[in-house]
Amino acid sequence: MSAPATAAEVQTIAAARLLREARSVFIGVGRPSTAAILARRLYNPELVLIYESGTIGAKPRHVPLSIGDGELAETADAVVAVPEMFNYWIGPGRIDVAFLGAAQIDRRGNLNSTVIGPYEAPKTRLPGAGGAPEIAASCGEVVVVIPHGRRSFVERLDFRTTVGFGDAPDDRARLGFRGRGPTAVVTDLCLLEPDPETKELTLTELHPQVSVEAVREATGWELRVAAEVRRTAAPEAEELEALRGLSAR
């Protein structure tokens, strides 16, 4: 009998399950990458994995450390230059789903990956935007994979690097964005989805053994909870085994 699933493993598996129907997914580094590779392995062998290094249709057998590891280029259907990646592939909305991480998220799914503290004198200098702003604007939909806690789920971002729904439900249309924006936020506690009207992130699914109270406690704003909250199906043995196999090198 293998060890029970950790919260991080449940998060990764819950994110992977969202890719059952997708044709293509754009992947950031870290847990989003693990989830997408797992989805291709388990549920959707035709899933096209796209990394901002220019590798389209990569087929990694392990989770790469960087988005530009050699295995991604060697197994890709096409390898393109960075201007082509953003101008021909991401910008026109050719990619179904984007899997992104961030340091902070707010109730409208806006993301910060730039600074903690004031921009001119940051307390913590984070890596910065990378591809996220245009990826989130243009991919068909966005799934945010982020740890749940009061440091990451904040009332107000220190810096808005990437627009989720902006400040109002029609902001994306006003800004001319082509994609639908965040459709899910997957954390180590739960899954949140935007309210269809207000676009405010709403708790819709709890991971096994997590309470609504625990999610409220870990959220830096007054959390909206759906009338009926689903329960994430516990990871199957096959899912856990595949995930652990990917992570072990």
Binding site: G68, G70, A81, V82, P83, N87, R125, A129, R160
Partner: protein, 271 residues
Amino acid sequence: MSAPKSLSEAIADLVRDGDTVALEGFTHLIPFAAGHELIRQRRRDLTLVRMTPDLLYDQMIGMGCARRLVFSYGGNPGVGSLHRFRDAIENGWPHPIEVEEHSHAGMANRFAAAASGLPFAVLRGYRGTDLMRHTRVATIECPFTGEELTAVPALDLDVAVVHAQEADRDGNVQLWGIPGVQKEAVLGARRSLVTVERLVDRLEPRPGGVIIPGWVLDAVAVAPSGAHPSYSLGITERDNDFYKAWDAIARDRDAFLAWMEEHVIAGGGDR
């Protein structure tokens, strides 16, 4: 392009204090050997341009080469922070640096505009973000449709330095694997240097191969393993263990300086 030069001679000829320099390579083919030569020759007040500063600019910033940094993602991919980059911005060590940051789409288009000889490039981007207020971009209206778009200024590069797998004896260069923005950097800069893993008699066509003709380059220098700890697809592998180990080395100022002294200052130079 004349005959291949030594790396130290090429750097001495092409890069001056105060220059705006792009050492490019997107995760792959990062020109570490050339950057280390810049450190050894003690270039100062450089404006360092790179989409992903990576360990190379972490080292150059920590060794005091940079006055200004232009970038779009300053992390150690898959590992965490670039501690020398953070220390310079958060604490001004070894001296304060100016920062101009963009998104990847913005930077890629700035390189493409430079290569095209145009003053700016246009994209759908930046809108609704705080980046708009903190960097050099402008909103423009499409003259045909009236759509509001974002303009990014072309990069103004004195020198581009890239690494490739091969050059022939006439200085024509071929690289393959992840091509990043290397071609755009070379064509967008006033001067350019390519370091290569090896010289060959003839460039053999490779799938996805990018050829840069020797006549648009100023210098080619041979630098075997010159991308380490990044890699040259088909010849060397990315040293992921080193990328992880760098976190501890760079976290501490003294450990960083000792490492640089041992491995770059004393241990480096022409082979």
